[in-house]
Symmetry: C2
Subunit: 332 residues, 2 copies
């Protein structure tokens, strides 16, 4: 679907480049012949992990810095053709316990990155990774891009603001930007140490370690899941399309599943393991969004994107990866 | 409509208390017998003006500080029964030229005020002054609270985030909060030095000074206007009602008018003056929202609020005030 030639010899900056999605994207980009710079600060609680780029270590530049560092970002965005802006604080619980850090990363840093682009490289094309979290508790399903925004936690509010900066800078200053609202993304190189990035991470860790994992609530909440290769396809398609400038696109899957059925599928795919359905911890219950699955009709219509890898196949590939490499993800 | 007894002997904090709406509200509150503390930092470009409280100077406490000052705010919110949270950066143009200051005041300071309330005074009731600007260019008219949020400038994004913090802290931490989305508010004590608070301000200054004032665009954009006494009524009604907790209410007027007709009404009311219809300056055109008027059906239904003072009567009262006192508002 992606014309690989689009990115050949192009200069590409990826914030959060040592993280889950960033490192998978970097593999695609180097395969396309792009000159890739990865920015990451390796905050221990976040998704960055040097092992993620082990297979491409010699083919990318790694720049250790924080998106909150206005000065380094100002320099780094110069002369880039594309910016995949993926760095973010992703934990909903952490955003409630430390709302200022979430604000600095998910909101203020986004503003300063956009100001840098506007002043130092207005011809750059940006793709921003936003989140379905900003819709809050769905008023209807599947959730499309016209669904009202009603964030239920500080992370959702700050991501919403960060997203809208991109749209305003696109509309007012013509710094081209596209927003993707991601749903649950999973696959090789995800954080599995805990649930900070996605609950599937800790499920996978525990099932591989032979421990039962926990499903909160009644297990009937439905969710949709995208395998990471489908997400990197969407990021590349958005970057390559002029039609996508100023647009917001949901990702989503065609096979939403209850948490209980997802848990069972994980156990079945591995061929062993178990889970327990337990009541929500209070601090999670109050920010839970219930059933969610999104419509990806808009991006399918505009950019021809569709998820290609179903949950069963994706979980299989993911489990294969962590059976080989989990030590690189769980050790301190 | 308001039971004045509600606020008798109650401790009330007003941020932006020396500003336009804050000072008018303070007059009502002292008349109700409240113990009122006004917080203001008198930033020269904003709405604060000591003359605004001239008639009630001995009946209120004034605390000069900035809502960005976490420590003073932490102390000030203690032991208050009500917080009218009105301080904000209001200029759309300034938000584009200096987005960080807008972010600090309209977003980060709101978060720190709410954190202070949560930790130091969770029983406080907060009313937050938000803005119709966060709807962006209307998709339908009149705009109700279900209209999608689609801010067109940095100020709109930051106010949107500040507003949603209030809702999340209400929903998650039960710090009671109500959001009012104000439209164009006008009346005595507004800033008339320039257009930073509302375009009506500079119109009034120029017409009183015998200079023609400028109407941008074709003059056909419709807007709605609330006289400040109606707005203070709405603030008090929202504070007094438990039903209003966690709710968002639009204000609005029943007599939206084109800018050209508003200009003519201003000239007719004063009995002299003139205006010129001129093309939009580029930096204003790109963030203009076109026609806007809001529906106030929700607050009318929940709280019985209705605007009582029409534009003609309101402009008359406003012009009377500035004919007497304009020197206190235009001198350096």
């Amino acid at each position: 679907m992606i014309n690989r030639e689009t990115f050949a010899r192009k200069r590409v900056l990826v914030t959060g480049g040592l993280g889950f999605i960033g490192s998978n994207l970097a593999r695609c980009l180097v395969d396309c012949g792009a000159e890739v710079t990865l920015v990451d600060s390796l905050i221990p609680e976040y998704g960055g992990n040097l092992f993620n780029i082990d297979p491409i270590r010699t083919r990318v530049k790694v720049n250790f810095s924080d998106v909150r560092d206005e000065h380094s970002m100002k320099y780094l965005v110069r002369n880039q053709d594309y910016l995949f802006n993926l760095a973010g604080q992703t934990s909903h619980l952490d955003s409630m316990n430390d709302p200022y850090t979430d604000l600095e990363i998910n909101t203020r840093a986004q503003l300063s990155i956009l100001e840098s682009c506007r002043r130092n490289n207005p011809d750059i094309k940006i793709v921003f990774a936003s989140t379905r979290q900003i819709y809050g508790r769905p008023q209807y399903l599947p959730v499309d891009e016209d669904h009202p925004l009603s964030p239920v936690d500080v992370n959702g509010i700050n991501k919403m603001a960060g997203e809208w900066y991109h749209l305003v800078y696109n509309n007012v200053y013509r710094v081209r930007a596209t927003v993707l609202r991601l749903t649950n993304t999973y696959g090789p190189r995800m954080r599995i140490k805990d649930a900070r990035q996605t609950f599937l991470g800790i499920w996978i860790r525990r099932v591989i370690e032979g421990e039962p994992f926990l499903v909160y609530g009644d297990g009937l909440q439905r969710r949709d899941f995208n395998y990471v290769d489908d997400v990197t396809d969407a990021l590349l398609a958005a970057a390559a399309s002029e039609k996508a400038n100023g647009e917001i696109y949901n990702l989503g899957a065609d096979d939403p599943l209850s948490l209980k059925d997802t848990a069972q599928l994980l156990v079945d795919t591995l061929g062993k393991g178990s889970y327990e359905i337990v009541p929500f911890p209070e601090e999670r219950k109050i920010i839970d969004i219930g059933d969610y699955y999104g419509s990806h009709d808009k991006i399918s219509g505009h950019l021809g994107w569709k998820p290609r890898i179903g949950l069963k196949e994706g979980l299989h590939k993911t489990l294969e990866y962590y059976q080989d490499y989990s030590r690189h993800y769980v050790e301190p």
